[in-house]
Amino acid sequence: MDDNYRQLFQYILSGLANGSIYALIGFGFAIIHNATGIINFAQGEFVMLGGMLTLFFLVFCGFPLAPSIILSVLIATLIGISFERLAIRPLKNAKPIRLIIITIGASIFIRGAAMLVWGKDTHALPAFSGTDPLYLAGATIMPQHLWIFGITLLVIFFSRIFFNHSIIGKAMRACAYNAQAASLVGIDVKIMVMISFAISAAIGSLAGIIIAPLTMTSYDVGIMLGLKGFCAVIIGGMSSGLGTVMGGLLLGLLEALGAGFISASYKDAIAFIILLLILFLRPQGLFGAKETERV
């Protein structure tokens, strides 16, 4: 096989892997946004917490991999729930500018606390099942890529089942359509909001855990990953679950190809230029339906 093709395939593969992560993070944004109308600027910090907590349990406490992951997701989820309970619920009818500022405050607080606890160093999380590459049609695949694709597919599959078939999932969707109407038919909106924060923290931290072996982790990875997850959800449209996945994959691909063929140093700028273009030209996302403005 030609060298160029092999390289292209490699770019596509890593693009899809990163894209899956962006999609998962984007999911987290969408779930909270649909339940509350808030864009949670602290979303990226849960991604960071996932990676750092797993590293902490695995490397410093010497736990095996599976319990470390489960513990980390649980702790991140608890932090998500307490964040909602302590900072979001007391402000529930505040103007967007206050909600934005409070989630930003929470995000710097979590990041700063992580820095104080774990320091500023960058760490590598060991890959889940070794680093011996697999060969597929002449190109190499890291086992971690397969983990990422597998876990992303699982999360998408289960969240579809959850939101379409379980009673809680349906109740959450009812809140997204119209919170007042939902509460009239006996749905506890407060609980649903709390669950949305819990799920989104859990998915975010899981994303942080599965990407950490490929990209390294440190206290400040949350900003960029969070922003790119937001970018994914904007490309896909807040209202469309599948759109978010497509948005994430598209972003990952464009970024990888742009970094490979145009300029590696402007890799991060690509995501934000796309973000601005989409916000300017098609704010409802490529796959979303147009939202009507409520007065």
Partner: protein
């Protein structure tokens, strides 16, 4: 009877005199340096407050305009030998044009989307500062920027810089106080309270927001130029996302829409790290906590929060007197 207008002028005069007299008491150079930075930060906080407090629009990328001013000043004076004063105006105009052009699409967005778009813009500019190494010196920064000069006076000491920065800052504050009492200020408040209602009253809300965004960028760029000349060295780290958030914190701590509040916020956030240096790295955590706590318990900012507290105390004392009598 003292009119509201006279009261405002009186307060401003006292404030200005106090500041201009301050160096008499703060002879120590270190304190003066801190005060120069408070001045620059006040200018930035006031500029952002025009947008956040008056018009109710958030910007998470304002460090970009600050940076544009600083880098244009730095590059044009060191590499092209242009006159620094001319460059300050050029740089501010450039930043204003950039703000005007991106303002149209960006200020169509609202709330969270606006926040994300301004953030994205800020990060793109930050990446450009870092990557255009030939021009900006990249991450290691741009040094030996000349000090400003009028005739034979060279602004290379803290005392000179203090007066330079603060006279311009006071002008910006006066302009902003004036603005809030003008037709534009009232229109902005209407947009802040309800954009739809303002539009029904015949205010072109979109264009108004773009205008105030442009003015805000202009002032921020002037602050950037002054920063570059005062420090003679700049690097991208001063103009990143963290600084944008710090600016938002200053405005929120001082109070949205309060010009003196912006000064207070800028002063607190400039002095705080100096004290926190003892507990290295603690400042970030404190900023986060400050943002959360201010938002939950004093959403109007420190000045109005303290005013309310004072009113409560006065009320209690009066009640007590009433009960005693």
């Amino acid at each position: 009877m003292i009119t509201e207008e006279k009261r405002q002028i009186f307060i401003f005069l006292i404030f200005a005199l106090a500041l201009l007299a301050a160096p008499v008491f703060f002879r120590e150079s270190y304190l003066l340096t801190v005060l120069v930075f408070i001045g620059i930060h006040t200018m930035l906080a006031v500029a952002l407050n025009l947008l956040m407090g008056y018009a109710g629009q958030i910007s998470l990328g304002h460090a970009a305009f600050f940076g544009l001013g600083a880098y244009l000043s730095g590059i044009l004076t060191t590499r092209f030998g242009l006159d620094p004063w001319l460059v300050i105006i050029l740089a501010a105009l450039c930043a204003a044009v950039v703000a005007f052009v991106i303002g149209f699409p960006i200020l169509k967005l609202k709330g969270h989307y606006l926040a994300m778009a301004t953030l994205g813009f800020g990060i793109i500019i930050y990446i450009v500062f870092n990557e255009t190494v030939d021009w900006t010196g990249g991450p290691s920064g741009l040094s030996s920027i000349p000090s400003l000069q009028i005739g034979t006076i060279i602004f290379d000491s803290d005392l000179y810089n203090y007066y330079l920065v603060w006279i311009i800052t006071l002008c910006v504050m006066l302009l902003s106080i004036n603005l809030s009492q003008s037709r534009i200020g009232r229109a902005l408040r209407a947009v802040h309270d309800s954009e739809v209602a303002a539009r029904v009253m015949g205010i072109n809300a979109w264009f108004l927001k773009v205008q105030i965004f442009t003015v805000s960028a202009f002032i921020s760029a002037v602050a950037g130029s002054l920063y570059a000349h005062a420090l003679t060295f700049i690097s991208p780290a001063s103009f990143g996302f963290n600084f944008s958030v710090e600016l938002v914190t200053m405005v929120v701590v001082g109070g949205l829409g309060s010009i003196y509040g912006s000064f207070l916020g800028a002063a607190i956030l400039t002095v705080l790290p100096e004290f926190l240096r003892v507990f290295e790295d603690f400042d970030v955590v404190i900023y986060g906590l400050l943002l959360i706590i201010m938002n939950m318990f004093m959403p109007g900012g420190l000045i109005s929060g303290l005013e309310m507290l004072a009113q409560k105390v006065v009320l209690k004392i009066k009640k007590k007197r009433h009960a005693d009598a």
